[in-house]
Symmetry: C2
Subunit: 595 residues, 2 copies
C-alpha cells in the first residue's frame, strides 16, 4: 500500500539501485554449445560471464560482483591472520624463474613472450620467486620476521585443456600468500593459520569441501594439503576413509605394505614354458589352467618399463614392478618422481636394449644389465611371484622378493582402488571427485636457498628463512559455488557472495504498485541491503524465470497483493513464499536477507 | 592522560590498526639509482613501490592502499554517470585486433605471444575491439541503448622508454570506459558526461590539470581531448593562451593562416646564383648580404623531403614546405599523417631520385616529377618566397604561392613556438609540460563499422552504433599526485587517497603514554579513521622523519606532553602543529583528518 500520509516522496530514479531495464545483462534461453558442466551453462545463460577466447573469460556486471564478494571474504580472513596485501606484476622477467628451474619445468603451461628488446618474459603462474626476492631485498634482521604477504591477482597458465568456463581458465584470479619464518616451528604456525583461515573462508562461502593430503608437485617442499570442493565434475580424484575421515589426493595415497614373510619353506623358483603369454590376461589364463586355486599362492608381478629424466640429467631406463592385477597410474608415477619427468619406454628404446624381452621382462635381466628397478610397496620380502624370465614364452613361478631378486627401492605408482585399506588402518578407501579450491604448502627452503634469503639471526649469524605458499582459486570459487548451489531452475547464491541481497520484481502494472516498489527499493537500500530491481516491461512470468536463473537468495515480489497491502518474499533456497504487509516490509525483507 | 576512571580497557593488539612494527615497509635513505623525477624517488624511498623489471613495478602495502583509493574515486564517479563496471581479460586473441588493423599499427608497443597451440595472442593495451564485440553480441535493439561500460584493469604496452617508475610503466592500471549510442547527439552527451566526471575525479584527487584539444592518434575518430596534469617532468608539451584559456596538445594546434595576398604588383620570380647555400643559415646569410632589410620582403621556404606509407600501401615520397625559420616537428607531422607512417628521406632515396638536389629543392622539380607537395598553412596564395631552384647553388627569389607554384594541400608539420597566435585569435600561445592522466575520444563508427555493431532501430531498420572511449591512468595518477604534492621532506597525500587518515607516532617511552597511544588508535579507528601506528622501538627523530617521508595528511604525536594531558596534531601540508587535550583528542584529530 503506498504511504498515504506524510510528505510526498519524490519517485526519482535512483543512481544506487540497479535497475534491470538498464543493466548490461541478457539472459539466454539455451545452454552455450561449448558448455558441459552446470556451472558453466548457468553462468553463461544468466549473463555472469562471457567467453573471449579459449579459457579466457569476461566478467559482466553480476559476475564481477560475485568475484569481488569472494575476493572480499578472502581478504578479510587473510587480514585476520595478520597477512599483508601487496600486488606484484603479472608480467615477469625470466631470470628468477631460470634460477629455480621453473622457466623450463613449467613446460608448455607457461605463457612466454619477448619484449621489444628481445628480453624473455613470462606471465606469472605463481609468484614464489618474486616474493622470495622481495623479502630478501626488504628484510635483513630476525626482528623483521615472521611475515605473511599475499596478493589477489590475475594469473596465467596455458592449460592443455581449459574447460568448464571459469572452472579451469588460462587467465584467472588467485589469492596467493607466502609466509617467511626463521624456523620450522614458525612455518608450521603460519601453515596452520592459513589452514584455519581457509576453513573459515570456505565455510563463509558455503562450499562443501574436504582437506586432502597432497603431493607438492612442481612447488617443491615437504608437507602439503589440498582443499577440494566435492563435485561430480571435479578433475581431481581423491580417496577417503569414511570410518576415520582420512582423505588424500590419489597421488598422495601411501600404500599399506604387508608384513614381510619368512623365506623358510618357500619352494624354489621355477621357469615354466608359457607360450603366447605376453600380457597379464594371457598369463593369468595359463596360470589358472596350470595351477589350483589362487595360482598355487603366487600372484603375478608386472614389470612396466619407463624412462625417467631428472632436471638437467639424461633419460634413464627404469623398471616399475607392480602386482599384475593393477595398472601403473601415470599421475601417481609422475608425482612420485617429481621433479623428474617420466615416459613409457618407446619401441625404439626396446629395440636398442634387446635384453628387454617385451611381455616377458623379469627382475633378473634388469639387475644383470644395471637397470634401476622400483617396486610397489606390496612387493615385500618373502612375497612370491609369477613374473617374466626374460625369454620369449617363459615365466618364473615362485620368484621370491628378497631371496631371488632385490629391488632398488619402492615406488607409489600402482593405481589406487576403492576398497584398498586406508593408510591409517581404520577401514577401506572410497574414491570421490573434487575441484581444487585451495592448496597449502610447507615449502621449506627450496626458494630461499635459490635466492639466498638470509637475515641476521639473534646469535649474529645469518639465518636462512623457511617459506610457505598458500593459494586460493578466487575466480574458480565463483564456478564452484555455482556448481554446488544451483538447482534445475538456475543459480542460488549464498548470502555471502550474492551479487545483490534482494531481487525486487515489479509484477503489477498499477502506477501505485510501481511507485511503491521503487520506494521499497529505496528503503531497502537505505536499510543497507543491495537491491536489484526488475523494472522491465516484461511479463511476470519472464521476470520470475529470470529471478530464478539469476539466483539472488531473496526475491521480493510486488504483485497483485499490493492493492491489499501485501507483498511476497520468496526464499530462493527453500522455495518458500511468505506474504507480508507492505507496512513492515523493510523489516521482513531485511530479516529474510540476513538469513 | 590515560583514562583514570571507568572499567579497565584491555590493551590487546588490534587486528585492525596497522602497526609499523610489523608493517612490510622499509624506508630508504637514498634515492634509487635509476630514479630521476621526484615522485619516483619518493615512492621508492617511502616503500610504496618496488621495481620488478624495466617499467614493471610491485605495489607494497602503502602503495596498494593509494592505488585502491584512486580506483575507488574513479569507480564512484563512473557509477554516478550510470556507467556499469565489467572486467575483460588482459590476454586477448589476435583476431579482433587484426580486424581493426591495430595488431600491426601498434608496432613494437604491443606485447604479442603465442599460446601452446601456436595461436597468436596479445596483452591488451586498450579494449575498443572487445567492447564493440561484446555489445554486438549482447544488444540487439535501440531500446537497449545508450550504455556506458567500463573496467579498471591491468593494461600492457611495451613502451620504448619506460620511465619515472609508475609514471610510464609497461604494466599499469587503467580505467577504460566505452559509450555506445544510436546517434551523434547521444555520443556527445556521453562524451560530456565523461568530461564532467573526469573533472570531478581530478578535483577530488586534488590534481592540477588542464584540458587540451588533442589529436585522436591510433584510436581514430573525430573529437578528442586530453587531461594533462601540469608538471615539469611531463613528457607531453602543450600550449595555451593565457588570455582565453585555450589549450591544446602541440600535435593538435591549428596554425593561424594569414589572408591571401593579391598577386598584382608582385615582381617576377628570379633565379639567383647562391653558391654554397645548402642550409637555411647559409641562405639567410646570402639574402642578408644581397638584399635590404627583410630580404626584400621574401621569407625563405624550406622543403623537407619525407616518405609516407599509408596502412597497406607503399612508401611515397612527399615534400613538406615550411617557413625557413621553423623546423619540422616530427611529432606534429606524425600526428598529421596518422595512421600513415612517416620517415625522413634517406640518402639512398635521394640517390635514387637525382631530381632532388639536396639543399636546393624547390616546388618546381617536385611538381615536374609528380611528387606530392604539402605546405604549412602560412604559405597562402600571394606569399612570396626564397626557395630552391633545383640546381646546385641556385635559388628562386620571389616565387609566389598560387602564381608560380601550387601545393597539393596544407599540413600541420611546422613547430609551434611560444608567442605564436592562439587559434582563437585572443592572444599569444605559451607552452607548458604535462602528464596525460585522462583522454576522451568521440570515436564515431570506426570500431562499430569494423565489427558491424548494429541494432534494430525504432524504424525497424538497422542502426549502426556510434562509440566513445574514455581512459584514466589510474596507477599513473598515484605518481602524478606524488609529483604535484610532495615537498623536500617527502610525500604529502591528499585526504582522498592517503593510505591512512592518521599517522600516530608514539614518541614517549612511558608505559602510560604507550597504552594511551594504543587506546587513542583504537578510538580513532572506532571513529572511522584509518590509523597507521608507529609503535617501533625507534627514536622520535627517526619516526618523525619517516612520518614526513610517508606523507599521511595528519600526524598525531603522543610525546612528552602526554604526562600533562596533551598530544600534538601536525598538519603535513601546512606544517602547523596544534597541541590538544588528550580528553578531546578523538574529536580534534577527526576534525583535522576531515580537513
Amino acid at each position: 500500500m503506498p504511504r498515504a500520509c506524510g510528505p510526498g516522496r519524490p519517485t526519482k530514479v535512483s543512481a544506487v539501485i540497479t535497475r534491470m531495464s538498464t543493466l548490461f545483462l541478457r539472459t539466454l534461453r539455451d545452454d552455450p554449445a561449448d558448455a558441459e558442466v552446470p556451472s558453466h551453462k548457468l553462468l553463461v545463460r544468466a549473463g555472469y560471464v562471457r567467453r573471449a577466447a579459449p579459457g579466457v573469460y569476461s566478467w559482466l556486471p553480476l559476475g564481477l560482483r560475485v568475484l569481488k564478494a569472494v575476493e572480499d571474504v578472502v581478504r578479510e580472513e587473510m587480514s585476520a591472520i595478520g597477512a599483508q596485501e601487496i600486488l606484484l606484476p603479472a608480467l615477469l622477467p625470466r631470470d628468477p624463474y631460470e634460477t629455480t628451474g621453473r622457466w623450463t619445468e613449467y613446460g608448455d603451461s607457461l605463457f612466454r613472450l619477448k619484449d621489444r628488446k628481445g628480453a624473455d618474459m613470462l606471465l606469472g603462474p605463481t609468484h614464489e620467486e618474486l616474493f622470495a626476492q622481495l623479502v630478501r631485498s626488504e628484510y635483513s634482521s630476525y626482528k623483521d620476521l615472521p611475515v605473511i604477504l599475499y596478493q589477489i591477482q590475475t594469473k596465467y597458465r596455458d592449460e592443455e585443456r581449459p574447460r568448464a568456463g571459469i572452472l579451469r581458465g588460462r587467465e584467472f584470479v588467485m589469492k596467493d600468500a607466502y609466509s617467511f619464518d626463521l624456523d620450522d616451528d614458525g612455518l608450521k604456525a603460519a601453515y596452520h593459520a592459513h589452514r584455519e583461515a581457509y576453513q573459515k573462508i570456505f565455510r563463509r562461502l558455503e562450499v562443501t569441501y574436504v582437506i586432502v593430503a597432497a603431493t607438492s608437485g612442481a612447488m617443491g617442499g615437504s608437507a602439503s594439503e589440498e582443499f577440494l570442493a566435492e563435485s561430480e565434475v571435479g578433475e581431481d580424484t581423491f580417496v577417503r576413509c569414511l570410518e576415520s575421515g582420512y582423505a588424500a589426493n590419489v597421488e598422495a595415497v601411501i600404500t599399506t605394505a604387508p608384513q614381510p614373510i619368512p623365506f623358510d619353506g618357500l619352494p624354489q623358483a621355477q621357469i615354466h614354458e608359457t607360450p603366447d603369454t605376453p600380457t597379464i590376461e594371457t598369463l593369468v589364463q595359463w596360470a589358472n589352467a596350470t595351477f589350483d586355486h589362487n595360482y598355487g599362492g603366487h600372484d603375478t608381478l608386472k614389470n612396466v618399463m619407463v624412462k625417467i629424466r631428472r632436471p638437467g640429467g639424461d633419460w634413464e631406463i627404469t623398471g616399475i614392478g607392480v602386482p599384475g592385477d593393477r595398472e601403473v597410474d601415470m599421475k601417481r608415477l609422475e608425482a612420485a618422481v617429481e621433479p623428474a619427468e617420466v615416459e613409457i619406454l618407446s619401441e625404439a628404446d626396446f629395440a636398442a636394449n634387446p635384453f628387454l624381452v617385451k611381455g616377458y621382462i623379469g627382475p633378473k635381466a634388469l639387475a644383470a644389465n644395471g637397470i634401476t628397478y622400483l617396486v610397489d610397496p606390496r612387493v615385500v620380502d618373502g612375497t612370491s611371484w609369477i613374473t617374466g624370465a626374460d625369454e620369449p614364452g617363459r615365466h618364473y613361478v615362485g620368484l621370491v622378493a628378497g631371496r631371488d631378486f632385490t629391488a632398488d627401492g619402492t615406488i607409489e605408482a600402482a593405481e589406487v582402488r576403492d576398497g584398498d585399506p586406508s593408510p591409517d588402518g581404520k577401514g577401506p578407501l572410497v574414491s570421490a571427485k573434487g575441484i581444487e579450491i585451495g592448496h597449502i604448502f610447507q615449502l621449506g627452503q627450496k626458494y630461499t636457498d635459490a635466492f639466498e634469503v638470509d637475515v641476521l639471526g639473534e646469535s649474529g649469524k645469518p639465518v636462512r628463512l623457511t617459506m610457505g605458499s598458500y593459494g586460493v582459486g578466487v575466480s574458480r570459487l565463483v564456478a564452484v559455488i555455482a556448481e554446488q548451489c544451483h538447482d534445475e531452475k538456475g543459480l542460488r547464491w549464498p548470502r555471502s557472495v550474492a551479487p545483490y541481497a534482494v531481487h525486487l520484481v515489479i509484477a503489477n502494472k498499477d502506477e501505485a504498485a510501481i511507485t511503491g516498489a521503487h520506494e521499497l527499493a529505496e528503503d531497502l537500500d537505505a536499510a543497507g541491503l543491495s537491491v536489484l530491481l526488475d523494472d522491465r516491461k516484461a511479463s511476470p512470468g519472464v521476470k520470475f524465470k529470470d529471478a530464478e536463473l539469476l539466483g539472488m537468495p531473496v526475491v521480493v515480489v510486488v504483485g497483485r497483493g499490493y492493492a491489499n497491502g501485501t507483498i511476497e518474499i520468496r526464499d530462493r533456497f527453500t522455495g518458500e513464499t511468505t506474504e507480508v504487509a507492505v507496512d513492515g516490509a523493510v523489516d521482513a525483507v531485511t530479516a529474510a536477507a540476513r538469513g
